[in-house]
C-alpha cells in the first residue's frame, strides 16, 4: 500500500504515543472518569438462547464444565446432600428422562448426562414467584434476581426438573476458591444456572460451553435459522425431558 510520507509519520507517531501512553491513558480514564467501555449489551428480544448437548462426545470422568461454572459463580460445596447447591451436574439418563429409558438399555440407562436449568420458554417457576424474583428475560434466559428473592421456595416446588437450589445457610465459608469478580449469594435465596447471563451480555458464550475440550455443548440463538444450534436441531435427533408438561425447554439433548 502506498503511503504518503506525512501519513506514515503521523501513523508512526500515533502508534508510538499509544504504545507508551496508552496504558497510562486507559488507567487515567479508568481512574478519573470510568467512562463505560460499554461492551455490555442489553438483552435482545429477538434472540432466543438455547443449548444443544451432545453427550456422545463427553469424556467419562471429565467435569471441566461443572468446575468452571461452580468456580466462577462462587457456588459453595457444603459437603452434604441436604444443603447441596449445584448449577450443572452429571445426572443419570434414566433419572432425567424417566419412563423414556427402558430397562433393556441396561448399563446405558445410567449414562451420565449433563443437567442444568433448561431455561424453559414457558417456565412454571416464574409463573409462581410472588415477587417476580425469577423471571424470563426477553432473550429467553430464566433469570434470578437475588436482591428480590424472599426465599419462599415456591419456584423450587414448581420446577418439574428439580434444577433449583436453596441457600439453607451462608455459602461463603464453603466457597473454596472465590471468584472475586462475581458476587456470592446470601443465605435464604434460591439460585440456579443462569446461562451465564453476565457473559452473554458481553457477547460471550457460557463458561461451560467455552471450557469444554470436546465441544459437547453448543450455545446459540434459536431464532437465527443460520446458527450452529439450529443446524444441529435440523439435522440430528434430539430429545427433551417432560415435554408433555408444556414447559418448552431451551436445552436439547442430541441422541
Amino acid at each position: 500500500m502506498k503511503f504518503k510520507r506525512g501519513q506514515f509519520i503521523k501513523l508512526s507517531a500515533l502508534t508510538a504515543a499509544f504504545a507508551i501512553g496508552g496504558k497510562k491513558a486507559i488507567s487515567l480514564i479508568a481512574g478519573n472518569e470510568l467512562l463505560a467501555d460499554n461492551h455490555k449489551t442489553k438483552a435482545d428480544p429477538n434472540k432466543r438462547w438455547g443449548m444443544a448437548v451432545e453427550m456422545g462426545k463427553c469424556k467419562e470422568g471429565c467435569e471441566k464444565c461443572i468446575d468452571a461454572c461452580h468456580t466462577i459463580h462462587n457456588v459453595p460445596d457444603h459437603g452434604n446432600p441436604k444443603d447441596e447447591i449445584k448449577w450443572i451436574w452429571k445426572e443419570k439418563k434414566s433419572k432425567i428422562f424417566g419412563e423414556q429409558v427402558h430397562p433393556y438399555a441396561e448399563k446405558n440407562a445410567d449414562k451420565p448426562f449433563l443437567y442444568m436449568c433448561l431455561h424453559c420458554d414457558e417456565p412454571p417457576c416464574t409463573r409462581v414467584c410472588p415477587v417476580n424474583a425469577t423471571f424470563p428475560r426477553e432473550d429467553g434466559i430464566v433469570m434470578m434476581d437475588f436482591h428480590r428473592c424472599i426465599g419462599c421456595r415456591f419456584c423450587m416446588a414448581a420446577c418439574p426438573y428439580g434444577v433449583r437450589n436453596f441457600n439453607f445457610k451462608d455459602p461463603r465459608p464453603n466457597i473454596e476458591n472465590p471468584n472475586y469478580s462475581y458476587p456470592s449469594r446470601s443465605m435464604g435465596v434460591v439460585e440456579k444456572c443462569n446461562f451465564c447471563n453476565e457473559r452473554v451480555d458481553e457477547g460471550k458464550v457460557p463458561a461451560c460451553v467455552e471450557v469444554c475440550p470436546e465441544k459437547v455443548l453448543t450455545f446459540g440463538d434459536l431464532n437465527d435459522e443460520n446458527s450452529e444450534i439450529r443446524q444441529i436441531l435440523r439435522t440430528r435427533e434430539t430429545i427433551q425431558p417432560k415435554t408433555e408438561l408444556g414447559t418448552k425447554p431451551s436445552v436439547f439433548y442430541v441422541v
Binding site: L34, A36, M143, Y180
Partner: protein
Amino acid sequence: MNSMIKVIPALAVFLAIVTIPVWINIGAEEMEKPELPEGMSECIESREYMRANHMKMLDQWRDESVRGSDHMYTNSKGQKFEKSLVKTCMNCHSSQEKFCERCHESVGVNNYCWDCHFTPEQMEAN
C-alpha cells in the same frame, strides 16, 4: 392526686426511654467522616446529589442492570458509566471500611451489599 406519686416518676422513666437517641451519645467522639479517594475531583454525580440519592440510585441501578439488562448509566454531564457498585463506585471509593462503613455504622443502616458482593479489601487481599 394520690396516683400522681406513681404517675410522675413513671412518666419521667418513659420520657427518658423515649428520648434515648438524643442523650445516649452525649460525650461520644465525633463520627469519623468517610475517607474520600485521593486525586479524584468528582464522583459521577455531585456530592449533594450522591448524599441524598445514592441509595435510590443503587437500587435503580440494580433493578435496571439485573432485571432490564440495561448496563449503561449516563450522568447529568452526559458521561457514561457501567451501572455497577463494585466496578464503578468502589473503583474510586476503594475501601468499604473507610468509606461506606463510616456513615453506615453511625446511622445504623446495615449495608448488606457486602453479604454477597466482595469488598475492595477482600478483592485486594486475593
